[in-house]
């Protein structure tokens, strides 16, 4: 069975279904929080769902969204992000983002971090994000 999965993985890698573009994160310091951003391109005709992100950079990693209520801004956890077929979804400042809580080390401008994104259809996708001072 595992051989079959391996063959399928080689023939149909997850990157053929979902493409992750322009991953970046904000510099931050140990024990604090930061955010990871990227663009998800769904290259298939069916919807896919991002439901989990893992990283060794932080003790806790969650999918979050920023919301506004008049002049007030807040942030809340969301359980998943659905990316419709043949479309893109951008995680960006002031909107959806991956929140890294209790960082295990400082993240300085130019540092890199590895992440594993879990999709219902495409499976696991590994990405590397660079820390950038930008909005």
């Amino acid at each position: 069975m595992s051989i079959l999965f391996a063959i399928l993985f080689v023939l149909f890698p997850p990157e053929d279904k979902i493409k992750i573009k322009d991953p970046w994160m904000r510099p931050s310091s140990e024990k604090m929080a930061t955010a990871l951003y990227f663009v998800i391109e769904n290259k298939t005709e069916t919807a896919d769902t991002l439901f989990q992100v893992d990283s060794d950079l932080a003790e806790k990693v969650e999918i979050h969204e920023t919301y506004s209520d008049g002049e007030m801004m807040g942030m809340r956890k969301v359980n998943f992000i659905i990316i419709k077929g043949s479309s893109s979804f951008e995680l960006k400042p002031g909107a959806h983002h991956i929140m890294l809580m209790k960082l295990k080390k400082d993240i300085k401008d130019g540092d890199e971090g590895e992440f594993v994104l879990h999709f219902k259809q495409a499976g696991e996708i590994k990405i590397t994000a660079t820390a950038k001072k930008q909005n």
Binding site: H64, T66, M73, R76, G94, D106, K133
Partner: protein, 197 residues
């Protein structure tokens, strides 16, 4: 002579109205003093620490991963733009509305990792009641949300807050408020130039 005086008066009124439109507020912040602590753990008094300088003031908490870093970065970019215009005497102040977690050490680290220049930047924290009083003066609100206790017994929470950067003139008067995370940097730079004229 009468025509000349009338002309000059009209010009002055037009200039005053134009300036008021650009800088709609004129709130005196010097009527009350607030004892706070800076990023070095030094006791400071607001607004005495900014008196005599045009000041850009942001309201943040350091556990915020998205909005407050955007606000701080916009202040940093504003300073970069001002330097291009050879304006180097503007002060930058960030007040934490989460004094329970934002100790001077935490604020200092927050600034260092973002390469903020302590010659012109001051990050402030203090007694919760004092911070709250000062926030009221600026009409800035912050409410804890999603509070929980972690495995070590520490309180974890996010904050819903006013998204704010304020411009203060040399005389300690609040002149304009801006949305911090989506600041129009050119607008703020132009307003600072107006204050300097």
């Amino acid at each position: 002579m009468k025509t000349r005086n009338l002309f000059l008066t009209t010009i002055i009124i037009i200039l005053a109205i134009s300036c008021t439109e650009k800088l709609p507020l004129d709130k005196d912040l010097t009527k009350k003093s607030y004892n706070l602590i800076d990023q070095n753990g030094k006791e400071v008094v607001f607004p005495e620490i900014i008196r005599g300088s045009i000041t850009v003031m942001g309201f943040i908490y350091t556990h915020c991963p998205d909005i407050c870093p955007m606000t701080t970065h916009n202040m940093y970019l504003t300073q970069k733009e001002l330097k291009k215009a050879d304006i180097n005497d503007v002060k930058f102040v960030a007040l934490s509305f989460d004094p329970d977690r934002d100790s001077p050490e935490v604020l200092k680290k927050f600034a260092e990792v973002r390469e903020l220049d302590f010659k012109t930047w001051t990050l402030l924290t203090g007694e919760k009641s004092t911070v709250n009083d000062l926030m009221k003066r600026f009409d800035v609100k912050a409410i804890k949300t999603d509070e929980s206790i972690d495995e070590d017994g520490n309180s974890e929470y996010s904050m819903m807050h006013t998204d704010r950067i304020s411009l203060i003139d040399k005389n300690g008067r609040l002149r304009k408020n801006y949305k911090g995370s989506t600041l129009n940097i050119e607008e703020l730079v132009n307003d600072i130039k107006t204050l300097k004229d």
